[in-house]
Amino acid sequence: MPDARRFQPIEQLLESRNDLWRGRHRPAGDALTSGRAELDHWLPTGGWPCGRLVELLPERLGIGEFSLLLPMLAEQTRRGVPVLLVSPPWVPCPQHLERVGVALEWLVVVRSADQALWATEQGLKSGLCGAILLWHPRSRVRSQAIRRLQLAAECGPAPAFVYYKPGQQPPPSLASLRLGIRPGPELTLLRGNDQSKVLHLGRGNVIPLSTSDMAPTHSRDQPERSDRIACKGQTLWESVQ
């Protein structure tokens, strides 16, 4: 008499093992490593959460908010998983991307700003992209739009990131993770249990390329003085909470 359990569908068998790595497929609730042990440790989700919307609120553009995600983008594209950059503020420099290990053939840029939200939603719903980064194009951010993106993000196995530019008023959010980014860069959790937690990722707006290059003692204890001064009185994001 053959054991019935031996004839489970293969899909079920594979699902039941969480120690099995199945290429492109990732079980839900998983997180992608950010490429930096310190950051992974700091993030409440242990990395960039898959199937979730992450909101990033840089105090101004160009202070490390894109470099923050580059190791993850590099890892995804190296595995042949496409990533989508939607309406970035400037042109991502291909030489730099290449240098940090991004495989350019899997990087697609949506340049048109007026279709940005639609394109993001399509990308998320397809479940094919390894990550989608959206620089919110509208000056007024509607909470329904963000809600739609969040629902769409749940279809896919990838994390989705929305950047709000300085001056954009982010809606009261339902996203699982909202990070404030200040020059340094230093990261603040704007949602979550421990909002006082601050991570100094680099200094002088320079993030070391890999973890091994990082000197945590520097970044943690001696943030550059000039940054501190620059940050004083910047209460833009505090009002959001």
Binding site: V91, P92, C93, P94, L104, E105, R111, Q115, S126, L128
Partner: protein, 472 residues
């Protein structure tokens, strides 16, 4: 040899109507009329119209008096011919020997694929079903010779053997033979009413009184004489132009026609074992203006009707139709170098084709420039060392010197007192060979917000300080 052959005749009793209904999305009473002796007369009418008393042969004015809501369209023989080709294409899936029998029928040899299709009855049933599915009403006939198959298809009769055929033919009345009206009158004038009576007349007598063509026809339907057939082959390249009986600028009406076109394209691709690479569409304007053209390209050869229809819908929404469209012409680019879609072993989700499909969908709405990949180019001038390319076409060449995370689309002038230089300079002096020579010193600098900028001081052709990028 002939004994092994079996021919199916396909007769399309409502071809004129079907050809119109292919491009008109309407369930109401409809008919087709044509000009006969200076009068518009109904040729065919659909069921709702027939129920209300519209009859073929009726004058159009009379039909409209009976049924004012009748939509009657002028007969389009070109569309009928195209539809007949479609019938032949479907038939080609069942047989390698297909011949057109214009104006409204085809014949095909079916004995060869009898076993493949599970017997003659099953074969004929599938064929009928497939044609019905494409909106073509048919009647099938079966006979060991093609001329008889064509004849029996008009009557919907089957005669699988020669003996059975002769028996059925003998009982046929003369008017069923679809002879020329003049000849038919002549025969009935002689008192000949059935085929059996006609066959009793001596052959020489028949030839003398009714001409040689009648004898030839009789011999062909009885299988005594080979019927000459021009074998039909599907076209080498798919090209179709459908005329809309009423011009329309509504996207939904055009999408309806596109659905039909794609249906035929799908059949053609399958039968010719081709994969679609692109579709050139031309919308012809009612006002005679130059046609609107667009192209739908596929990132990967293949065919998925629903997906393609979605892409076309996106394109149609984008273009503003300046006038109503009265014809749609489609030319397909296809290739036989293709790999059938493969499903993922574990999840059965076809991933390899889904990514190009997503790019197609995004590209259709965003336009050629809206969606891009990035490529590096070997040029010393930083603004020429990269370019937008179509997604997936990226190339990369190594660059050892520091390059910023972001490039500004155009260098922006800045004041030197607003920045603090930190690293540099990197001298770039190049471009004299193409008249775009420049001399610059690049620096990494900080602005007042402590952002690291990529700035340069230019000496040639302009002078001054410019921001070119941002080290994120």
């Amino acid at each position: 040899m002939r004994g092994n052959r079996l021919w199916a005749g396909v007769h399309c009793p409502a071809l004129a109507l079907d050809a119109i209904e292919q491009v008109v999305a309407d369930d109401g009473p409809a008919a087709v009329h044509e000009q006969l002796l200076g009068q518009a007369r109904i040729v065919q009418a659909n069921h709702p119209a027939l129920e209300q008393g519209v009859r073929p042969g009726q004058r159009l004015a009379a039909a409209l008096a009976i049924l004012p809501c009748l939509h009657s369209h002028a007969r389009n023989q070109r569309a009928e011919r195209q539809l007949l080709e479609q019938v032949a294409l479907v038939g080609y899936d069942f047989s390698h020997q297909v011949a057109l029998a214009p104006p409204d029928g085809i014949v095909l040899e079916v004995a060869g694929s009898r076993r493949l299709r599970g017997g003659i009855s099953a074969l004929l049933e599938t064929l009928t079903e497939q044609l019905h599915h494409r909106g073509i009403a048919v009647r099938l006939g079966l006979a060991p010779v093609p001329a008889a198959a064509r004849l029996l298809s008009r009557l919907g009769r089957r005669a699988p053997t020669l003996a059975e055929l002769h028996r059925q033919l003998a009982g046929l009345s003369i008017d069923r033979l679809a002879l020329e009206p003049k000849l038919a009158d002549l025969l009935s004038g002689c008192g000949v009413k059935t085929v059996a009576e006609l066959m009793k007349l001596p052959t020489a007598e028949r030839a003398r009184r009714f001409g040689p063509s009648l004898n030839r026809h009789l011999e062909q339907i009885h299988g005594c004489l080979e019927t000459p057939l021009a074998h039909w082959m599907p076209a080498q390249r798919f090209s179709l132009r459908l005329e809309l009986p009423t011009a329309s600028d509504e996207v939904s009406a055009l999408v309806f026609v596109f659905r039909r076109i794609l249906g035929r394209l799908g059949d053609w691709l399958r039968i010719r074992d081709q994969a679609l690479t692109g579709l050139n569409v031309s919308l012809e304007r009612e006002d005679g203006g130059s046609p609107l053209s667009f192209r739908v390209s596929l990132a990967r050869p293949g065919f998925d009707g629903e997906r393609l229809l979605e892409l076309i819908g996106l394109k149609l929404e984008q273009i503003h139709l300046p006038a109503a469209v009265d014809a749609i012409a489609v030319k397909a680019d296809s290739t036989d170098q293709h790999r059938p879609p493969q499903a993922d072993l574990f999840s059965a989700h076809n991933r390899a084709d889904a990514w190009p499909a997503l790019l197609d969908r995004l590209g259709a709405r965003l336009g050629e420039d809206g969606l891009a990949g990035l490529a590096t180019r070997s040029d010393h001038r930083p603004e020429r060392s990269w370019s937008w390319v179509s997604p997936g076409d990226s190339s990369a060449c190594q660059e050892q010197r520091p390059r910023p995370t972001w490039l500004l689309p155009e260098p922006r002038p800045c004041k030197p007192e607003q920045i603090r230089l930190e690293e540099g300079p990197e001298r770039i002096e190049t471009g004299w060979w193409d008249g775009q020579d420049c001399r610059r010193d690049y620096w990494i600098a900080r602005d007042r917000q402590q952002r690291r900028l990529w700035v340069f001081r230019e000496y040639k052709p302009r002078t001054g300080w410019f921001v070119h990028g941002i080290f994120d």
